[in-house]
């Protein structure tokens, strides 16, 4: 019983993180856009949800108390706008330059959240953010079952939509840009606009995950959006298999599972006297498993499927 309850909780977190990884897969896996500011758009989504739905407090600028679904819609819009602005400014950059720029932007977004107290609650964060439909469920267990349906539903929807998109002509052009941008331009494709579109769409998906996360936890603070999350998401995508949406989801499951399971394992096997060192052992263990995966499965657990036109041979 307890195990089931924990697994449901675990699955909720995995489905939310999967949505971010799927968004990154569109950007990096399909288009080759190196977004090192994943957590920034996740934060925009999360904070927008909180700002729109949180109960009114005199010290806050925005006191709308909107229903949760409008919070989610608002999160999508806000992260799309943020990505558009960032994209317009940075999409001319390539590879490592883009990575540095987006990383800087993510840190900036987190610092804005930390310092613009009237909007975001500053370092104290925002409490009592409404959890969708929580009034209808009596026990935490039934609520979590519901939330799993909600977050997994959004995750499947995202997965399905992105699968459709990357297999569409538009998706094939993204791939062409990734493989050889010069060739794509020579064929008359507007690479800059397409890259921007993929960037905005991917970041909007990340914003959705932010809203779902904050809705689940019921609290948001700048602590939720530390830069390391970007690297965790990247690890999930690389381990699972960049360029493959199934790989993105599987990678999230495996890496987050490893993160949690290693903590459990350490607390089980280490004698009490060494528990304090357990945290360090856990981090080493995670690193080790990741390195081994990459050495033996360099394309990720499920690599990209070979794409040939179904009309060819």
């Amino acid at each position: 019983m307890g195990i089931v309850s924990y697994l449901i909780f675990f699955a909720i977190v995995v489905s939310i993180l999967s949505i971010i990884t799927l968004g990154l897969n569109l950007q990096w896996g399909s288009t080759g856009v190196f977004n090192a500011g994943v957590v920034g758009f996740y934060a925009v989504g999360g904070y927008t949800y909180a700002i729109l739905t949180a109960p009114g407090r005199p010290e806050l600028l925005v006191n709308l108390e909107l229903p949760w679904i409008l919070g989610v819609v608002g999160a999508l819009i806000a992260s799309a706008i943020a990505a558009l602005l960032v994209g317009l400014a940075t999409m001319k950059l390539r590879g490592d330059y883009l990575a540095i720029a987006t990383f800087g932007i993510a840190v900036t977004i987190q610092l804005i959240a930390l310092n613009w107290e009237g909007l975001t609650g500053g370092s104290l964060g925002m409490t009592s953010v409404p959890r969708p439909l929580s009034g209808f469920f009596e026990t935490p267990f039934t609520y979590n079952v519901f939330y799993l349906c909600l977050s997994a539903g959004f995750c499947l929807l995202t997965y399905w939509a992105l699968e459709r998109i990357v297999r569409s002509p538009w998706g094939r052009v993204l791939r062409a840009i990734r493989e050889d941008e010069g060739a794509a331009i020579a064929l008359g494709k507007d690479a800059a606009t397409l890259r921007l579109q993929a960037f905005v769409l991917g970041s909007t998906v990340m914003g959705l995950a932010g809203a779902l996360y904050v809705g689940f936890i019921g609290f948001v603070s700048p602590f939720d959006f530390v830069p390391i999350i970007t690297f965790q998401i990247w690890t999930m995508l690389i381990v699972g298999g960049s360029g493959n949406n199934k790989g993105a989801v599987l990678g999230t499951l495996v890496v987050w599972g490893l993160w949690s399971a290693s903590g459990t394992l350490i607390s089980k096997i280490l004698p009490a006297a060494f528990q304090t060192q357990g945290g360090a052992v856990q981090t080493i263990l995670i690193g080790l498993v990741l390195v081994l995966t990459l050495l033996f499965k360099p394309g990720g657990l499920i690599g990209e499927e070979p794409t040939t036109s179904r009309h060819a041979g």
Binding site: M1, I3, N115, G122, I217, P222, V226, I229, L250, G263
Partner: protein
Amino acid sequence: MKRSIGLLAGAVLVSAWMPAQNAQAQNAVSCPVKLGGILPLTGSMGPVGKRISDSAQLAVKHINEGGGIKGCPVEFILRDDQGQPTVGVDAAKYLVEVERVPAITGSVSSGVTLPILTSVTVPSKVPVVSCCSTAATFTTLAQEGKTGGFFFRTLPTVKTQAYASAKVAADRGFKRVTMIYINTDFGTGMVKDFTKAFNKLGGQVLKTVAYNENQPSYRAEVNSALSDKPDAVFLVAFPQDGATMTREWISLGGTQNLILNNALRTPEYVKAVGGKFLQNAFGMDNASTSGPTVESFKQSFQAAYNASPDGPGIYNQYDAVMILGLAMNLAPDLSGTAIRDAMRKLQSPDATVVGTGPEEFKKAIALIKDGKAIRYSGATGPLEFDANGDVSGAALIWNVKGDQLGTDQTLTVEEMSKLIKQIDG
């Protein structure tokens, strides 16, 4: 993929009719009694968290040597939150659901503790005792009834610290004070409360300068704070940054009237700055007064880890675990609600005082068996929780004598509650 979804769906169905049985099974105590811990052992708070978890382990050892909980040895299950809310929340859910711990101690950062409360422990009615989460938000949440009384913390809130500091600053005749503070919930809380109290007591806060951690130099912040030539500067910082900043402040000609926060009460800070520059400085901490319970904790920590317990959170974490141990012995059963209620029974004024260490714990168990009331006086002195789970303790004003940390004066519980009344009205 499909298969695992099927499995999960099956598991959900099976469990849907199970919760009813589960609630009854808690009355009988089965050995060992589990106690959950969530602390940052790695990540940016790692260096602080390691010592704090040492302290928690020491308390568990003392509980076990003193007779355990309801005759059972205690098994402490410690999880690392890495300073990340998601990791902390996952650990909490695991402890509550899979390990079925009746209570948890943790965490350090308010940004980790709060999501643990809102998404796991409060809905599951599991008490949490934190050593170190200072944010004022916990008090607000408790007042709104959103913690259900399941949250406690063993360190003085920012308010106690800020008010006591404001009083001593006013007593020393400072009128114009500038604040340099760390830009976290702790720092901003301190600024708000100190400003409120200091204004009420006739002073004025000229300027507040925020800083972000881990920079090589704070010259810009220091210069900005210097510009108004304040009577005194209130530094809200942690030892490393605090030392860098104090050195820059003094070398640029700032006043040596320094007001310091509790985290700076470490020998490292005094050594890094140089004792001779700190002779006019004072700081506030909760009353780890030099009582016998405090001394006995100091000695056992020193003996166990060959290190000084003078660092942030170490005293408080010991108390967090010890008081949980006492409450769990006192509670009729190990349900969250019973432990929560027992926590508040450990503080009636006419009860027998029990202190730190295994012997005292043994004594406490004997008293509980005889049905006598007990009151815990711990590594941070007497501990009293108010309705919001905050400790309203006595305040200690510390200073530096030569190169050593010393005690300037103590504000008793009565003096503190008078002060709070005077300021809050």
